[in-house]
C-alpha cells in the first residue's frame, strides 16, 4: 500500500505546512495528526508542502504525522446518496450525530454510505457481454422515486466472465467480474469513487432546447432556464435567494435535486430537511426527500470543507446525470464558496486581486459553471446537470467581483431587488435587471408544447413592464394625474401584471407552483383585458370610468381563484371582460 508520511512543521488556521519534499501529490487527500483530520494538498515546493485541513485545527502540534492516502479527494458513489444529508466532504451527518452527539466533533471517521444495508438488485448484463465505461450493470430501487443504475466506472472496459443472480446485495458485494483487455480480471461492485475536482466524462454536449419548468411564473415565462443551463440569483440579504432556491428545489421538473448549503445557516438546513421530508412531489406522489440530497456545510463548519462542498455536490450530480437523469443543483451560496477561496488564499499569502479575492476566482467560477450541461452520456443515455447558484453580493452591490464574474459564465440572471423585497413583492426578481439567454433556444419548445403565441405574449408583457418603468420616471416628477389616459392604462395594466402575474405566493396551495398552461392563460387574459381597455380608451372613455369597474382586481386575483387543474375557468374571465367592455360602452354612450 502506498503510504507517504510527513510531519507537521507549522500551523496557521486551516492551513498547515510540512517541511521537505514529502512525495505527496497535488490535490491528494491526507490524514493529519493523531485525530486523523481530513486534508488536501494544495501546494508543493522543494522544501515545503502546504495542506488545507477540512476540520478545525485547534490542538495540532508540530511534529505530528501526516499520512497520504494516494488518492485525490474523492466521493463514494453508490445507492444511498438520495434522501440523505452530508457535510462538505460526503460524510453523512446523521451517522455523525449517532456516533458523536449533537455537536460535530473532529476526526470522526464514518463511511459515506451505509455498507451493511442490502439493496434489492436487478442485474442487467450477462456473461459474455462486452462492457464499456458507463454501461449499466445493475438497477437498484434507491428510493420510491428513483431507480439507481449502477455503472461500470468510466475508465474500465472488458468482457463479463461472471454475474451474480438478482437478489439482495450490499454496496461492497461483487456483482460482475470482467476480463480487461490486458487479460487481468476486475471485480465490479455497486460502488465507484471519483475525484471531486474532475468532471466525469461524457460523449458530447447538446445545446439547450428544453426548459427546466419550475412552476414560478417570473422564471418560466419571463426568464426561463434550460435543462442543463446555468443561472445565478444575486441579491442582498433578506431579498429571498434562499426562498427562491427552495421553491425551485420543491417544484421544478428535474428528476433529482442536489441542494448545497454552502456556508449558510444551520436552521435553514434543518428547515429543508423537515419540509422536504413532509412535502409530496406532485409528479411522483413521493416525499420530496426521495429525490433530494443535501450537502450541508453551515457557516460555522470548517472553511476548507466549504470550498470542497460545491465540488462534492457537483460530482454527485454528474453521477446521476450519467444514469440519464435530469439533475438540478442549488448552490446556496456561491459567494460563501468564493469567500472560502479568499480566506484560504489569504492564509497562503497569495497576491490578492480585486477586493482581496484571488486572481483565479474567475477561472474557478467558469470551471464550476461549465460542468453544467445537457449531455449524451458514455452509456448512450441523455441527462443534464443544471446549476442554479445564489450569489450574496457584498452590500447588495452587483458590481462586486463574484457577481460580475458569475455574470460572465451563466446564461440566466435573476437579479433580486431590495426595494421589491422591502415592499414584500416576492419573488423579488426584478424584471428590468434580469435576463435569460435561453429565451430564443427554448422558443421552439414553447411553441410546440404550450402555445404558438407564447413567446409573442411574453414579449408583449415585457414591453408593457418596460414602458411602465419609463412612465414611472415621469410620474415621479409630476405625479400620475397629468398623464394621458392611454398611458394611465399602461400603468394600470402593468400593476395587474406585477401583482397578478409576477408576484407569486409561496405559501398559497395553488399559487406556489403554477402549470405552464395556467401561466399562458393568465397572460392571455391580462393581454385581452389590455386590448379591450385600450379600445375603450381610444374611444375617449376616461381611465377613471374603467377603474371604477372591479375587473382589474378580479384579474389580479386569478392566481388565487383559479386552481391549476381548472383551465376551463378562464373562459369565464373572457366573458367578464367582454361584459365590462359592454357596460362601459353603454354607460357612457
Amino acid at each position: 500500500m502506498y503510504n507517504n508520511i510527513g510531519t507537521i512543521y507549522g500551523v496557521n488556521g486551516p492551513v498547515i505546512y510540512l517541511k521537505g519534499n514529502t512525495g505527496f501529490k497535488m490535490s491528494e487527500m491526507v490524514y493529519v495528526g493523531k485525530e486523523r483530520l481530513v486534508g488536501e494538498v494544495i501546494a508543493l515546493d522543494k522544501d515545503l508542502t502546504t495542506i488545507q485541513v477540512y476540520e478545525e485545527t485547534s490542538g495540532l502540534r508540530p511534529g505530528e504525522e501526516v499520512i497520504a492516502t494516494g488518492d485525490a479527494v474523492s466521493v463514494t458513489l453508490a445507492p444511498g446518496i438520495l434522501n440523505n444529508i452530508f457535510d462538505g466532504i460526503e460524510r453523512p451527518l446523521e451517522r455523525i450525530a449517532e456516533t458523536g452527539g449533537a455537536f460535530i466533533t473532529r476526526g470522526v471517521s464514518v463511511d459515506s454510505l451505509d455498507r451493511a444495508k442490502k439493496w434489492p438488485t436487478h442485474l442487467t448484463v450477462s456473461v459474455g457481454d462486452y462492457l464499456h465505461g458507463g454501461t449499466i450493470i445493475a438497477e437498484v430501487p434507491e428510493t420510491r422515486a428513483i431507480m439507481h443504475k449502477c455503472m461500470v466506472p468510466p475508465d474500465v472496459e472488458g468482457t463479463v466472465t461472471s454475474v451474480v443472480p438478482d437478489g439482495e446485495y450490499t454496496i461492497d458485494d461483487v456483482l460482475v467480474t470482467i476480463r480487461l483487455n490486458t487479460g487481468e480480471t476486475k471485480e465490479l461492485t455497486m460502488t465507484q469513487r471519483w475525484p471531486i475536482r474532475v468532471a466525469r466524462p461524457t460523449q458530447h454536449r447538446f445545446s439547450a432546447s428544453i426548459p427546466l419548468v419550475t412552476g414560478q411564473r417570473i422564471i418560466d415565462t419571463m426568464f426561463p432556464i434550460a435543462k442543463g443551463g446555468t443561472a445565478a440569483i444575486p441579491g442582498g440579504f433578506g431579498t429571498g435567494k434562499t426562498m427562491t432556491q427552495h421553491q425551485i428545489a420543491k417544484w421544478s421538473d428535474a428528476d433529482i435535486i442536489i441542494y448545497i448549503g454552502c456556508g449558510e445557516r444551520g436552521n435553514e438546513m434543518t428547515q429543508v430537511l423537515e419540509e422536504f421530508g413532509e412535502l409530496i412531489d406532485p409528479k411522483s406522489g413521493n416525499p420530496l426527500m426521495d429525490r433530494t440530497t443535501l450537502i450541508a456545510n453551515t457557516s460555522n463548519m470548517p472553511v476548507a470543507a466549504r470550498e470542497a462542498s460545491i465540488y462534492t455536490g457537483l460530482t454527485l450530480a454528474e453521477y446521476y446525470r450519467d444514469m440519464g437523469y435530469d439533475v438540478a443543483i442549488m448552490a446556496d451560496s456561491t459567494s460563501r464558496w468564493a469567500e472560502a477561496l479568499r480566506e484560504l488564499s489569504g492564509r497562503l499569502e497569495e497576491m490578492p486581486a480585486e477586493e482581496g479575492f484571488p486572481a483565479y476566482l474567475a477561472s474557478r467560477l467558469s470551471a464550476f459553471y461549465e460542468r453544467a450541461g445537457m449531455m449524451h452520456n458514455l452509456n448512450g443515455t441523455d441527462g443534464s446537470v443544471s446549476i442554479i447558484g445564489a450569489v450574496s453580493p457584498q452590500g447588495g452591490d452587483f458590481s462586486e467581483p463574484v457577481t460580475q464574474n458569475t455574470k460572465r459564465f451563466v446564461r440566466c440572471f435573476w437579479g433580486l431587488d431590495k426595494s421589491l423585497a422591502y415592499s414584500r413583492h416576492f419573488p423579488a426578481i426584478h424584471w428590468l435587471t434580469s435576463y435569460s439567454e435561453y429565451l430564443s433556444d427554448l422558443a421552439p419548445w414553447y411553441q410546440e408544447h404550450v402555445s404558438p403565441k407564447f413567446v409573442d405574449y411574453r414579449n408583449r408583457i415585457m414591453a408593457l413592464l418596460n414602458s411602465e418603468s419609463s412612465l414611472m420616471e415621469i410620474v415621479k416628477l409630476i405625479g400620475s394625474d397629468v398623464l394621458p389616459d392611454d398611458q394611465k392604462l399602461v400603468l394600470e395594466i402593468a400593476r395587474v401584471i406585477r401583482l397578478g402575474f409576477l408576484q407569486q405566493n409561496a405559501f398559497h396551495k395553488d399559487d406556489t407552483c403554477v402549470s405552464m398552461e395556467k401561466q399562458f392563460l393568465m397572460m392571455d387574459t391580462i393581454l385581452y383585458l389590455y386590448e379591450q381597455s385600450r379600445a375603450l380608451v381610444a374611444m375617449g372613455h376616461p381611465m377613471s370610468v374603467l377603474r371604477a369597474e372591479n375587473i382589474f382586481d378580479k384579474v389580479i386575483a386569478i392566481k388565487y381563484d383559479v386552481p391549476n387543474d381548472r383551465p376551463e375557468m378562464f373562459a369565464q374571465y373572457h366573458q367578464d371582460i367582454d361584459a365590462f367592455y359592454q357596460r362601459v360602452l353603454e354607460k357612457n354612450a
Binding site: 490542538g59 428547515q271 405559501f507
Partner: protein, 462 residues
Amino acid sequence: MSIEYLGLSSINGPLIAIEGVQDAFFDEIVEFVVSGNERKLGRIVEIYEDKAVIQVFEGTDNMSLLNTHTRLTGHPMEISLSPDILGRTFNGIGQPIDDMGPITSNLKRDVNGLPLNPVTREYPRNYIRTGISAIDGLTTLIRGQKLPIFSGNGLPHDQLAAQIVKQASLGDDSDEEFAIVFAAMGVKHDVADFFRRTFEESGVADHVAMFLNLANDPVVERLITPKVALTAAEYLAFEQNMHILVILTDMTSFAEAMREVSSSKGEIPSRKGFPGYLYSELATIYERAGIVQGKNGSVTQLPILTMPNDDITHPIPDLTGYITEGQIVLDRGLHSQSIYPPINILPSLSRLMKDGIGEGYTRDDHQDLANQLFSAYAKVGEARNLASVIGEDELSPIDKKYLEFGKEFEERYIGQRLFENRSIETTLNLGWELLGKLPREELDRVNTKILDKYYVPAPVEE
C-alpha cells in the same frame, strides 16, 4: 509538563513570538508571569516548528523580551462552568471580577465550541412576545433565533434591548427557566452600568451572567469574550435546560478588534482592511444560537451592532445580515422625530417569523396583516418622495391617504412608550385599525376571507 520559558523573541502590538518551545499546539493557552508578579494569558495563533506566535489577551504592556516567564497550559481556552455563574460578573475571558471568589467546578469547557450538527437541530417555532409592536407584529422574535439590532451611535439600541429583556422574561407565566447571558465587547462604562441597573430594577439580576470587556480593556480579550459568553449560554441551555437570551454588544468592536490583531499579524486584508476570515469568525459566533433536539433549553441571540456611519453595506452589518436570521434596523430619521423604538421596518426582517406565527401560535391573520403593513408602508415612502417634488397638495387622493396612514403608523404602531408592554392582540388589532384608513381595494396582500373577517374601514371624518 510545566516547563517555563524565560524571555521572548519579539513583541509587536498584542502579539509576541517565542522560540524554542517544545510540544506546543495550535490554539493552546499559555500563561505569562511578567516581572515575577503580573500574570497574563495568551493564545497560540500560529506555530512553526519550535516558534510560536502568541496573542496576549491582557495586552503586552510591561512585557519585555527578558522579564517574561512563559508556561504552556496544555489545553485550549477553557472556562469553569456551574449553575452558579448566574448572578455573577466576569471579565472578558471569564474570570470573576465581582469579589465573590472563583467558580468552583470540575466542569471545564473549550470556549471554541463545536458546530451544531444540522440534523440534530430543532427548527425554531416558538415565538417570544416582546410587547413591542414593531417586533411582535412585523419582525417576530423566535426562540432559538439570532436576530441582531443594527443601530448607529446615539440611537437607543440599549434601551430597546433592555426593554426586550424585561418584557420577554417577565411577561410569561410559564415555569420554564429563563436566564440572560450578557457579553459586552468594548462598550462604554455607562452602557455596562445601564444594563446592570436594568437587570437589577427588573429583578432578573440573579438570572444574569455578565461578561464585561469595556472600552478601555485590552482589545485582544474582546476576541474571546463572545465565545466565553456563548459557551456559558450553551452550558445553561443544553445541560441545565434553561431558555437563554444572549445579548452581545457591540459586535462592531469585536470585528474591529479582529482587524487590529490581523493587521499586526501582517495578514492580507480584504474589505476595508478586515481579514478574509471575518465572515467565518462572525458565523462561529452567530451560529451558536439554536435548539437541540431532545433538550428543553434554547439559545436566542440578540447581538447589537453599531453601523459605522449608519452604513448598512459596511462589511460588519453586511456579513452579519447574511448569517443571522433577519435584522432589526434602527433609523436616525425616526429617532429625530422622537419615535421610540425608532425601528425602520422596511429593511427589518425576521426570517423565522413565517413558521412561528399564524393560527396556533398568534392569530390566523398575522402573516397577511404583516405583509400588507410592509407593502402599505413602502407605498408611503413613494408618496413622500412624490410629495417632496410636487408638493403635498398636488398628490392624488389615494396618495394623501397613504401619507396620513404613514404618519399614524409611525406614531402609534411603531412608536410606543418605554414601559409599554402590548399584547399580541393589541398589536394585531392596532394594525387593522390603521389599515382601515386605506380603501379596501388597496389591500392587495390579504386573503379575501381574512379581509372580510378583520377589515373595518375607518369612519370618514367630516
